[in-house]
């Protein structure tokens, strides 16, 4: 038993005194004799030699199997041993086996989203949206869902590091205090604090104290993808820094100009929900109409009724052109805005006409937050002129806005560092050595400071250059507060004690301010001082959000200033090749590069995983003679980057779009070396768009794993779609798209016992955002497989989103310059006549007696894969290898598993279960409560719960009043491949586009 005890001793929470890191102790154990013997006794002698590290898939190193245990991991096909540790004393309110839920908040740049987090025995396992929070309304994005994996990332900062060697908090504190005392004596001269912009009132209160304490210190903020264009634009248009907050549901016509209204940015979850609420073709209000004008495809463009390409950097010129069209039709606008440009007049005239025909205040013009201030100002003026102010656009005071150029702060910091004026630099989060504008050479400058402290939750390129690295708490481990763009106040509440004894930014800041405090005290005191009393605190703690804290202000348009700003709008550059930098929907600014769930999530449009690419339009690729995935060198402003090409239909010509956040070198084992680092091309003058680029084809191809290699429906009735006019003429159009003979079942029908579960997915609402995909992965313990395996076609997502392009050019169906895009989430359809059930020789996939589910019995499965072959929907996923690496998986990563769902071994088939664990929990609760039926709405599968647009509805199809029954009764309802007589329980509601009648050819 001693050897087994040894393994157990790799305690999740290392004792700080023994001075060993988690990793070192595991290695240590792997090298002990007992352990070696244990390995060899459990697995045949010599067998471990077979596991040649060179030939093994590189994935095996990904999730923590890169030490001696790896051989054990790959060979372990036994059912794992499990140990149960009962509570000696049961904590109050805790029933072992039942999850608990706490409200908290996740802040990412400007986006503040309230969450409700599920915890099992004190460890958070699943994130859901907080319906009370205006930034969520219950929905979550993939990034929120991925937070769990980041929390348990074994590559996090687990120890205080001093000059790269492990140290401890007492040593750190001694050094830190010494520096602080010295700096305080000099009134802070020589102190540089670089922090990430924060939306926390407590943070700013503390920062104020620090400023008072160290008046001569330099305190700057830097976020590579934050953008103050809107507030700067508001300063021009309204003379004060305000944030526009949209009421998308009120708008009949929405015009998104270079704006990813639905897919990213603050309140995007809310906006998606509101947009989707107006996609019911039968609603008395009528459907809204979304127009998108953009250079690079976004989920918003894909969801739009009309999407047109405009050149990169032409948003301002386009708005002026639109203004001219509006003015021509009699709209009163400040003089000097309108100016015709070279845009399709037919489109803009139709749009202008529509904007003016709609009821006043029922339209909305949105420009992307990256656009320069003058473009924002024009949009404000247009919305104002269309009467949208206080109707579809309201203005909330900007929270701690940064004035001037977005890179001003980091530029100042770099200058001070370069001049040697900095004695001590304290970096509160962030990774400027990686993501600061490349012309600053921040990494080099950083080395000139004598003392460098970096508080960070994961070691990165910057911490590699720092003298002291301080473990930072993950947001699920810390106390905090946050203010959303509409002013809503919410609390950040820890779900777990800091796993690695980290400190939060607030705590470190209070330390700098001279009074080290606990995060809880800081937040609570600040709350009590500024917001209310103890009772309110308790309520906010429970709800996660302070209701009624949103604030809006009146604005007055300064017409002259807008007119003046309009004259500064850049002229379209249609000569040179341009590079567009994009915030990635997966790794964000690069901070989630070590998150396998997010890395493996297919990008909504390209469906690329694990890498970024140089996105070019088909025409540009043809002109430059580029093949997909071919290596190219992109040069701009004397800087160059080599990466793979990805041909993206619908992108503006002569534009290369590259996602930021890849090419990390110090992200960790999952994230290092994925894709190419676009920050290398990015300078402070051209943060989002660089002109005059050159693209040179190189030899060779890049590994660019995609989950979908074929993007056309081949004329098959898969995603069924009609225009609103066609729908009105024949609401049953979707059902009529397939003709088939009468369907006769081969086997007797299943008897319906109890409630029967079904799902309806409204394709009119789906924006392909991936929230459901990662929610499903988190809920159901779905492994990641790594880029090589994704390329081989082995991604494990139970729920995938198929993306199809269709040409809008009736003359040439292969012309994909302006394609339409449809998304279709597909998971197990839970067929009544399931082709998989018949063919399984061992009856491992069978119909459930109650509920009518297509059950998958992992213990019975021997892995013939016959079921997957015979599945017409191709939703079954096979564990070709031991993807979970259970034996080698770090213990801390194992904490992320949902204990309600089996972790599957190698050689087993798996698939969507409609979250049967949630169904059964609800049935149990209903039974305990004495109900004979689970009420509608009680069961929500993970996908439906995450979906920001409520596209997925689940429930009992035998209850005519249930939401799912109502949806299935709609005329648009159809069954995918229903002609095969599979009788799927999941059905789709056909997509109805609402194009402007004038533009329908």
């Amino acid at each position: 038993m001693s050897e087994q005890k040894k393994i157990e001793s790799t305690d999740l929470l290392p004792i700080q005194e023994n001075g060993k890191t988690y990793w070192r102790s595991l290695e240590h154990i792997a090298q002990t004799e007992e352990f070696q013997e244990f390995v060899h006794r459990e697995f045949p002698a010599g067998a471990s030699e077979l596991t040649d590290p060179v030939t093994r898939r590189s994935f095996l190193g990904l999730m923590g199997a890169s030490f001696a245990l790896a051989g054990l991991g790959t060979g372990c096909v036994r059912r794992p041993e499990e140990k149960i540790v009962p509570y000696g004393k049961r904590p109050e309110d805790l029933v072992p086996g039942l999850p608990q839920f706490y409200a908290t908040t996740m802040v990412l740049g400007d986006e503040v989203v309230g969450l409700v987090v599920e915890a099992h025995e004190g460890r958070p396992t699943k994130v859901e949206g907080n319906p009370l929070h205006p930034g969520s309304l219950g929905g979550t994005s993939a990034i929120h869902q991925g937070a769990i994996l980041s929390l348990y990332d074994p590559d996090r900062t687990v120890r205080v590091l001093h000059e790269g060697k492990e140290s401890d908090f007492p040593s750190l504190d001694a050094a830190f205090n010494e520096r602080l005392e010295a700096l305080a004596r000099q009134r802070g001269r020589g102190l540089l604090i670089v922090h990430e912009p924060s939306r926390s009132p407590s943070f700013h209160a503390l920062l104020e104290r620090v400023r008072r304490q160290y008046p001569e210190a330099t305190i700057v903020s830097w976020d590579p993808v934050a953008h103050n264009g809107t507030t700067e634009g508001a300063r021009i248009a309204f003379g004060k820094a305000v944030e526009p907050v949209y009421s998308v549901a009120q708008a009949d016509t929405i015009v998104a100009v270079e704006a990813d209204l639905l897919g990213s940015g603050p309140h995007s979850l809310r906006y998606s929900r509101e947009w989707a609420s107006r996609r019911e073709p039968d609603s008395p209000e009528g459907m809204n109409r979304l127009w998108a004008f953009e250079a690079v495809f976004t989920p918003t463009g894909a969801a739009a009724d009309h999407r047109f390409r405009i050149g990169a950097g032409e948003a301002g010129a386009f708005l002026r052109h639109l203004a001219a069209a509006l003015e021509q039709r009699g709209l009163q606008l400040p003089a000097g805005i309108a100016q015709r440009g070279d845009f399709d007049a037919k489109v803009t005239d139709a749009l202008a006409k529509e904007l003016l025909e709609r009821r006043r205040g029922r339209t909305l013009i949105v420009v992307g937050r990256h656009e320069p201030a003058e473009v924002q100002a024009i949009a404000f003026a247009l919305n104002h002129a269309l009467g949208n102010t206080d109707r579809t656009v309201r203005y909330s005071p900007a929270f701690q806005p940064v004035e001037g150029r977005p890179d001003a702060g980091i530029r100042l910091a770099a200058e001070k560092l370069t001049k040697g004026e900095v004695d001590t630099v304290i970096l509160l989060g962030g990774n400027p050595a990686y993501d600061a504008p490349s012309d600053l050479n921040f990494g080099e400058a950083l080395g000139k400071a004598k003392h460098r402290f970096h508080l960070t939750w994961a070691p990165n390129e910057t911490s590699a250059l720092c003298e002291w690295v301080i473990p930072e708490t993950h947001f699920l481990e810390e106390w905090g507060d946050a203010v959303a763009i509409d002013g809503t106040f919410s609390l950040v509440q820890p779900l777990i004690r800091p796993i690695w004894y980290g400190r939060s930014k607030l705590e470190v800041l209070s330390h700098i301010a001279g009074r080290p405090r606990k995060g809880y005290d800081i937040v609570r005191e600040n709350f009590l001082a500024t917001r209310g009393g103890e009772e309110l605190w308790q309520r906010v703690l429970h709800d996660g959000v302070l209701e009624g804290s949103a604030r809006f202000v009146e604005v007055e348009l300064d017409e002259a200033a807008v007119a003046q700003a309009a004259s500064k709008v850049a002229r379209p550059d249609r000569e040179s090749l341009k590079v567009v930098f994009r915030v990635d929907s997966k790794v964000y600014d690069g901070r989630f590069a070590n998150n396998g769930w997010l890395q493996e999530m297919p990008e909504p449009l390209t469906k690329l995983t694990w890498t970024n690419g140089a996105l070019v339009s088909p025409a540009t690729a043809k002109r430059l003679g580029l093949q997909n995935t071919q290596r190219v060198r992109v040069e701009v402003g004397g800087r160059s980057l080599e990466l793979g090409v990805w041909i993206q239909p619908g992108q503006a010509d002569d534009t290369v779009a590259i996602a930021l956040g890849y090419g990390r070198t110090h992200a960790g084992r999952v994230g290092n070396g994925r894709g190419a680092n676009a920050y290398a091309l990015r300078t402070g003058d051209a943060l989002w768009l660089a002109s005059g680029a050159r693209l040179t084809p190189l030899s060779g191809k890049e590994l660019m794993p995609t989950t979908q290699s074929h993007g056309f429906m081949e004329g098959r009735p898969i995603v069924r779609e009609a225009s609103l006019t066609e729908y009105k003429a024949d609401p049953e159009f979707a059902k009529k798209m397939v003709e088939h003979p009468p369907l006769i079942p081969l086997w007797p029908e299943h008897e319906w016992i109890g409630q029967q579960w079904g799902m309806a997915i409204d394709l009119n609402r789906c924006i392909g955002c991936n929230g459901c995909v990662v929610a499903c992965q988190a809920e159901n313990n779905i492994p990641i497989v790594g880029p090589e395996q994704v390329r081989m076609g082995r991604a494990m997502h139970w729920l995938r989103i198929d993306r199809y392009y269709a040409s809008t050019n009736p003359a040439d169906p292969t012309d994909l310059s302006e394609p339409e895009v449809v998304h279709q989430p597909v998971s197990c359809q839970q067929c009544e006549h399931a082709p998989c059930e018949n063919v399984c020789p061992v009856a491992a996939t069978v119909h459930s007696l109650e509920g009518g589910l297509n059950d998958m019995v992992y213990n019975r499965c021997i892995g013939t894969r016959y079921c997957a072959n015979n599945c017409p929907y191709k939703v079954r996923r096979f564990n070709f290898l031991d993807f979970h690496q259970k034996a080698g998986l770090p213990k801390v990563r194992q904490l992320a598993f949902n204990p309600d769902v089996t972790v599957r071994t190698r050689g087993v088939m798996e698939k969507c279960t409609y979250c049967v664990q949630r169904i059964n929990a609800a049935r149990r609760d209903a039974k305990v409560a004495g109900l004979d039926r689970v009420p509608d709405g009680v069961i929500t599968p993970a996908c439906a719960q995450a979906c920001p647009t409520e596209a997925i509805v689940f429930g009992d199809i035998t209850d005519p009043a249930s939401r799912v029954s109502k949806r299935k009764k709609e005329a648009r309802n159809y069954e995918l491949l229903g002609e095969l007589n599979t009788q799927p329980r999941t059905s789709y509601l056909a997509r109805v586009r609402n194009p402007n009648p004038e533009l329908v050819s």
Binding site: L50, R800, P841, R860, G863, Y873
Partner: protein, 480 residues
């Protein structure tokens, strides 16, 4: 009776035409016995060691491929979603198909009194059994959790679970299992008299003991012969439907599915024809080598080979017809998916495999319309190998091209084999050849007793002479 009297005996109906002399070279009974038996009795020839070493090396490849597969998981192959079966099941069907010729030659041709079968049936049956052993490896190895593979068998268990009797894969287990058992019995029963011959000729105690045990006390008494003939006939009767049923049921794996390109009613006859096609080709390949190496040219004559080539031509053309009919039905069905599946087969990413198959299976056998080619050893050797390449591709085309693009284009993929796919396939030839080379060395390669039975000497007709002479003009066998 004396030998001259036999030589001059007037043979009754049916007269043997000169080109149907089943044993040439004027061999006597004892020549036949000696010729076949001495192969097992001589000092092992050096070439045999070479062949054995080569086979063992290939078997080693098989072993390594299996070990790595079991160690790492099915993921060492190139399988993926949507192609859940590729080389594994292709190889299974390929080997099962090859395994068809043996029983066909033994059983069906036996029942149809095709006497020419006697010189090739032993080797063909051995080939069947070894091929089925190879075939059985693949469904066994392809499962994800091989240590749970016993769930496939209807064994009583504590879970009270039966396998799913609706699954064609389970039918496969029974069909191939039955086929293997009956083929093995059939082969062994046929071997008994010859094993006894080897026992009787044994010069060492070991040989006497081993062959003595294997020959089950055979003494060649009339009662033994009567029982033997009955048993052989019954087993032939049992085997005959199996020849048709095995590949029919193997084809059900595909035909009962919903996948376009699989869901086809023509599959059972088409698969059986293809199996006979490939099986005969394999017999030709092996017999051409064997008769060359062991000097059996008078036992396995060109006439035998030509007959087999005719069957190759016949079944090859049937297979070609099936290919054409599949396309017709795909068009005629009006099914969008069905049509696409076949257009994709011929012109999609796997067109190269499809046209390889057509060239090998439909075009190459057409040479056998010409007698010259049918009787040319080099031509038939090359063509028989080409046919088996083609038949491997047929299964690959059916399995992979249907799976890689089925209903939802968003899930389409492209399968590429890994070195382990290839290793296991190539290695399975190692298993096959090792068994075959051992068979060549230690067992009578040609059914001695049966060959003797079809020699003119075996059919003296003492009592019929007068009648024949009275009623019909005298005809004499043209003694060579």
């Amino acid at each position: 009776m004396s030998a001259p009297s036999i030589a001059t005996t007037k043979i009754p109906i049916p007269p043997t035409p000169p080109d149907e002399k089943l044993v040439t070279g004027g061999l006597t009974f004892s020549d036949v016995t000696n010729l076949v038996s001495q192969v097992t009795e001589q000092k092992t020839p050096r070439n045999w060691y070479l062949a054995f070493a080569f086979s063992l090396a290939l078997l080693g490849v098989f072993g390594v491929s299996v070990l790595w597969l079991l160690w790492e998981g099915t993921g060492v192959w190139g399988l993926q979603q949507p192609v859940g079966w590729a080389w594994d099941i292709t190889n299974f069907v390929f080997w099962v198909g090859i395994g068809h010729a043996g029983t066909l030659i033994s059983a069906i041709l036996f029942l149809f009194r095709q006497k020419w079968r006697t010189s090739v049936n032993r080797a063909a049956e051995a080939m069947t059994i070894f091929a089925v052993i190879c075939a059985l490896m693949f469904p066994g190895l392809h499962v994800g959790r091989i240590w749970m593979a016993y769930y496939l068998f209807p064994l009583p268990n504590q879970m009270g679970m039966w396998p799913n009797f609706r699954s064609p894969l389970l039918w496969d287990v029974f069909a191939v299992g039955t086929y293997f058992t009956v083929s093995l019995l059939f082969w062994y029963v046929g071997l008994v008299p010859d094993l006894a011959t080897l026992r009787d000729r044994a010069k060492t105690r070991t040989r006497a003991l081993v062959y003595g045990l294997l020959s089950l006390g055979w003494r060649g008494s009339m009662r033994h012969w009567i029982n033997y003939e009955k048993a052989y006939l019954i087993l032939a009767g049992i085997s005959t439907p199996l020849v048709l049923s095995v590949h029919t049921i193997v084809s059900f794996d595909f035909a009962t599915s919903v996948i376009p390109g699989w869901h086809t009613t023509i599959f059972p006859p088409y698969f059986v024809a293809g199996a006979i096609f490939s099986g005969f080709a394999m017999v030709v390949s092996l017999m051409v080598i064997t008769r060359q190496v062991f000097g059996f040219k008078d036992l396995v004559t060109l006439d035998h080979l030509e007959k087999m080539n005719k069957i190759i031509l016949l079944t090859g053309t049937m297979v070609g017809y099936a290919y054409a009919m599949e396309f017709f039905i795909a068009w005629y069905s009006g099914s969008l998916y069905e049509r696409y599946a076949f257009i994709n087969r011929a012109f999609g990413p796997y067109a190269w495999a499809y046209w390889t198959m057509i060239t090998c299976n439909v075009i190459s056998p057409q040479f056998f319309w010409f007698r010259k080619f049918r009787r040319s050893i080099p031509v038939m050797f090359v063509l028989s190998i080409v046919v088996n390449i083609g038949m491997w591709f047929e299964r690959f085309v059916i399995i992979v091209t249907s799976l890689h693009r089925d209903y939802l284009p968003g899930s389409w993929g492209y399968f590429m084999p890994t070195i382990w796919d290839i290793g296991l396939f190539v290695g399975s030839f190692g298993l096959f050849f090792t068994l075959f080379v051992l068979f060549l060395r230690f067992l009578p390669v040609i059914a001695v007793s049966e060959v003797k039975g079809v020699m003119p000497e075996a059919d003296p007709h003492h009592h019929a002479h007068e009648e024949v002479e009275e009623k019909a003009p005298l005809r004499t066998a043209e003694a060579s």
